[in-house]
């Protein structure tokens, strides 16, 4: 890892340089309080103060709906894809970078998922530090810092960004405009250390994750699953906005206009009634409480057993988005009682 500083007013020059070389994706404001990742057009549209985007950056690597291949009337298979330009995503917070790390594991488990890795291998990340809001749970999930995945990470200080360069790609990006980067001074290092402490003290919501996986498993029959499943709309919003939910459905769709048939993969959600329905009509999670509980168990327990890490990154999207206002912190607190 190499450290540099970048004057804040020179960030536009840096992003312009990156945009010239790669396809640059940046966070932009969408609604009054919502943000989204879009292709870079001009610096004035880039949001630097956003907390979270509606949909995590997973959509850029694992799109909601994608065509895997098509078959024409002569049974010829066309699995070709447009050769996508190498893209760089700017503005990922530590939680979202942890999300990518978890997706990387999930899409490598039992073999590399070609469709995922085709895109993933052609994307770089510029991380950006953030300050927590009332939904942020990263400190509790130990995802408030990231030491992997990113190529460059920018820590916001008063006048400069403390720039951490982790990979050769990050170094390449720096070399696009080398005159912008300086060695950090003693004062800047001190400021960086102070900033870490200030940020650390700003977390208002803490979720006790001690032995959480064990507790959720032990409380398998707790009544609160039933109670919350009455409130839950089973609309699937929490799954769609989760940076680590990676379930998908695969189906064939005849395209009458193109005159072929396409195999499509589309995001799926374990909250759905027929998600666990199998041939013969057996449903592994036929009731609503079972489906509600499953999501919690999977986020905090299931993935951890395989990979030694919960698959919740504490980004707060599910709690912020849920139309029913169901909040993971509250559910976990109730389980602990």
């Amino acid at each position: 890892m190499l450290f540099f500083t970048l004057k804040k007013d020179r960030l536009p020059e840096f992003l312009d340089a990156v945009d010239k070389r790669y396809k640059l994706i940046v966070p932009e404001q969408k609604g009054e309080k919502t943000y989204t990742f879009r292709q870079y057009t001009e610096f004035s549209k880039v949001s630097l103060e956003f907390i979270r985007t509606i949909i995590p950056p997973k959509k850029l690597i694992f799109p909601p709906v994608e065509k895997l291949f098509s078959v024409d009337k002569e049974c010829r298979i066309d699995a070709s894809h447009e050769d996508e330009q190498f893209s760089v995503i700017f503005g990922l917070h530590p939680c979202d970078l942890h999300g990518i790390e978890i997706l990387d594991k999930a899409f490598s488990y039992g073999g590399r998922d070609t469709s995922y890795w085709r895109r993933r291998d052609k994307v770089g990340f510029i991380g950006l530090s953030c300050l927590p809001d009332k939904y942020c749970l990263c400190k509790s999930m130990h995802t408030d810092f990231i030491e992997s995945v990113y190529d460059i990470f920018l820590y916001t200080l008063d006048d400069v960004y403390m720039v951490s360069v982790r990979t050769a790609l990050g170094d390449d990006m720096l070399r696009l405009s080398p005159g912008l980067f300086n060695k950090p001074t003693k004062e800047e290092i001190l400021e960086y250390k102070e900033r870490i402490q200030i940020r650390d003290s700003m977390f208002t919501r803490i979720m006790d994750t001690t032995n959480l996986a064990d507790l959720l498993t032990l409380e398998y029959k707790n009544d609160i699953w039933e109670e919350y499943s009455k409130r839950c709309l089973f609309c699937g919003s929490c799954v769609m906005v989760c940076p680590t939910c990676q379930c998908f459905d695969v189906y064939d769709s005849p395209d009458v206009i193109a005159g072929n048939s396409c195999r499509i993969r589309r995001w799926d959600a374990c909250m759905r009634k027929d998600y666990a329905l199998v041939t013969g009509g057996h449903n592994f999670r036929g009731t609503r409480p079972e489906r509600f509980r499953f999501r919690y168990l999977h986020k905090e327990t299931g993935f951890g057993e395989m990979h030694g890490k919960a698959s919740c990154t504490g980004c707060g999207r599910c709690s912020e988005t849920c139309p029913a206002g169901i909040d993971m912190v509250e559910v976990v607190r109730r389980i602990r009682e």
């Binding site: 509606i54 709906v65 009455k230 609309c235 919003s237 005849p254 009458v256 027929d274 609503r288 139309p323």
Partner: protein
């Protein structure tokens, strides 16, 4: 084997669904390529031929409608309801059951003699092989279903809420961020979250999805400050009659 013959028919409706077909643009030529269109009212004179597959929009509101539909059912291999009126009765099936006084109010002299029944969905009269909801139908959804139906298979359609489609499109939640009484959480997907994508709440024209938690959404609307009457009206527009 020739091309399958398809007919598009209207019962009592605003013709919005047939209009969506005429609005297919260039794709309508593909449709004519794919099937022999024997009847497409508002767009062409009827050929008088019997179809293999009939697409029917509108609700049954008279004995004439009923007899026409029964006769059509006997002629065709597949009968597909298109549009919410055909599927549930639609917006015209709101309100009181007995409407005779409406007729005499509007047409004092001749109204009493009109042939009119309470609007009913097609399934109340005949066997319907497949229903394509929407007010109006979605062109993409229709073409998607057509691909399956012409192969004699039931279409694979989304069995989840509009919320999932809405999030896949990256929209902000209207319920959460704009306190708008959106029916997306209980409504069947398939429209590509058309209204929420334009900032308007979902009205539920595709009907309830299979696992809709209506009770919870009503409670959420109450917490948002909607009156019981307002809530009833939201659900009564499309959802209550069921698909």
């Amino acid at each position: 084997m020739g091309k399958p013959k398809a007919g598009f028919y209207s019962l009592t409706s605003c013709s919005g669904d047939i209009l969506e077909i005429t609005n297919l643009g260039e794709d309508i030529l593909k449709l004519f390529d794919l099937v022999e269109v024997v009847h497409l009212n508002v767009a062409m004179p009827s050929t008088g031929k019997d179809p293999d597959i009939a697409f029917v929009e509108g609700a049954v509101t008279s004995m004439e409608d009923e007899e026409f539909l029964k006769a059509l059912r006997k002629k065709v291999k597949q009968l597909v309801g298109i549009g919410t009126c055909a599927c549930t009765g639609g917006v015209i099936a709101r309100g009181p059951e007995d409407r005779r006084n409406w007729l005499t109010d509007v047409y004092p002299e001749s109204g009493a003699g009109f042939d009119i029944t309470f609007p009913r969905p097609l399934k109340d009269i005949v066997t319907v092989d497949f229903s394509i909801p929407g007010c109006p139908i979605e062109k993409k959804y229709l073409l998607h279903c057509l691909g399956y139906l012409l192969k004699g298979v039931l279409p694979e359609v989304p069995a989840y809420s509009v919320c999932m489609e809405c999030k896949m499109k990256g929209n902000e939640c209207l319920l959460r961020y704009r306190s708008s009484a959106c029916l997306g959480p209980v409504t069947k997907a398939g429209c590509g979250a058309r209204q929420p994508s334009l900032g308007r709440p979902c009205d539920g024209c595709f009907g309830f999805y299979d696992d809709a938690n209506k009770e919870s959404l009503i409670e959420i609307f109450r917490e948002m400050g909607l009156s019981e009457d307002e809530i009833k009206k939201r659900f009564d527009l499309f959802l209550e009659r069921g698909l």
